[in-house]
């Protein structure tokens, strides 16, 4: 029954003029503004992820149990793929 009654396609008088007027009122956006907007929108999720990761790190206590200095640990992680299993 819903198929048999297609919705009305009536358009209010001079609706296209209204759209054109709205378009004329829109502020011109350059690519830098759009880029800044995207960065601003991404800020909140990034902050959230950083907080969650920080909490997880402290909760697991991995910082306290660290045996090797941070520099050495980083180096072994970076070179892990190049290191032979017997090394």
């Amino acid at each position: 029954m819903a198929r048999a009654t297609p919705p009305n396609d009536h358009v209010p008088y001079a609706f296209e003029r209204r759209i054109m007027a709205r378009l004329a009122d829109l502020p011109a956006t350059d690519s830098w503004t759009a880029w800044a907007g995207m960065l601003w929108r991404a800020a909140a999720p990034c902050l959230g992820i950083t907080l969650v990761l920080s909490v997880l790190t402290f909760a697991s206590g991995s910082l306290g149990k660290q045996e090797a200095p941070l520099g050495e640990a980083l180096e072994s992680t970076v070179y892990a793929a190049l290191t032979e299993p017997g090394d």
Binding site: M1, A2, N8, P12, R17, I19, R22
Partner: protein, 191 residues
């Protein structure tokens, strides 16, 4: 001589904003009809249509001309309507008591003897509308496109940007959701 859509799009891109008015004039009846499937109040319909055309103007650079302009515009329209549904989730706590006498009567007749219930009854239309409004935005979009507009799964995937398997899964869930909504309207007795 009338310009083709491609010529009008090229003109708008070249800075002739007035050419966009011709595109709006050509496609606004179809866009209005689409928006009326998802919004009931006329002010909401006008807001949706306005948003669709403003987005189309702002994103015209992304139209590559591989498909007809109408397909591109309708895809944009479906996504805008979906965003509208998500932003305006009304209270979906309808109950049997919410049904009008006519709707209740039609539902009774339909359950007792489906063939005897008149398909063109206003009560039936109102009931379908009520059921659609109870659905989640995803379910409503899928049911509208698949069952009411009778589009194929492939077409829906192209319109929504969802994959074909995802459309099938969502269609299955949408039908289940619709059944639950009907149960909520007429608990114990039917379905």
């Amino acid at each position: 001589m009338e310009r083709t859509d491609s010529e009008l799009v090229a003109a708008v891109r070249a800075g002739d904003t007035a050419a966009f008015e011709e595109l709006v004039r050509e496609y606004q009846p179809r866009v209005f009809a689409m928006a009326r499937r998802y919004a009931r109040r006329e002010e909401e319909v006008e807001d949706i249509v306005q948003e669709i055309f403003i987005k189309a103007y702002q994103r015209l650079e992304t139209y590559r001309g591989e498909a007809p302009f109408e397909h591109w515009l309708m895809r944009l329209g479906v996504r805008t309507c979906y965003d509208f549904l998500r932003a305006h989730r009304r209270s979906r706590e309808h109950r049997f008591a919410d049904l009008t006498d006519a709707e209740e009567d039609w539902l009774d007749r339909f359950v007792a003897e489906p063939a005897s219930a008149p398909e063109d009854a206003d009560a039936a239309r109102a009931l379908v509308q009520r059921l659609l409004e109870m659905l989640s935005p995803k379910a409503r979009l899928i049911i509208t496109l698949l069952e009411i507009e009778e589009r194929s799964v492939k077409e829906i995937a192209a319109l929504t940007g969802w994959s074909v398997p995802l459309v099938k899964v969502r269609a299955f869930r949408a039908r289940q959701e619709m059944r639950k909504c009907l149960q909520r309207l007429k608990p114990d007795e039917y379905v």
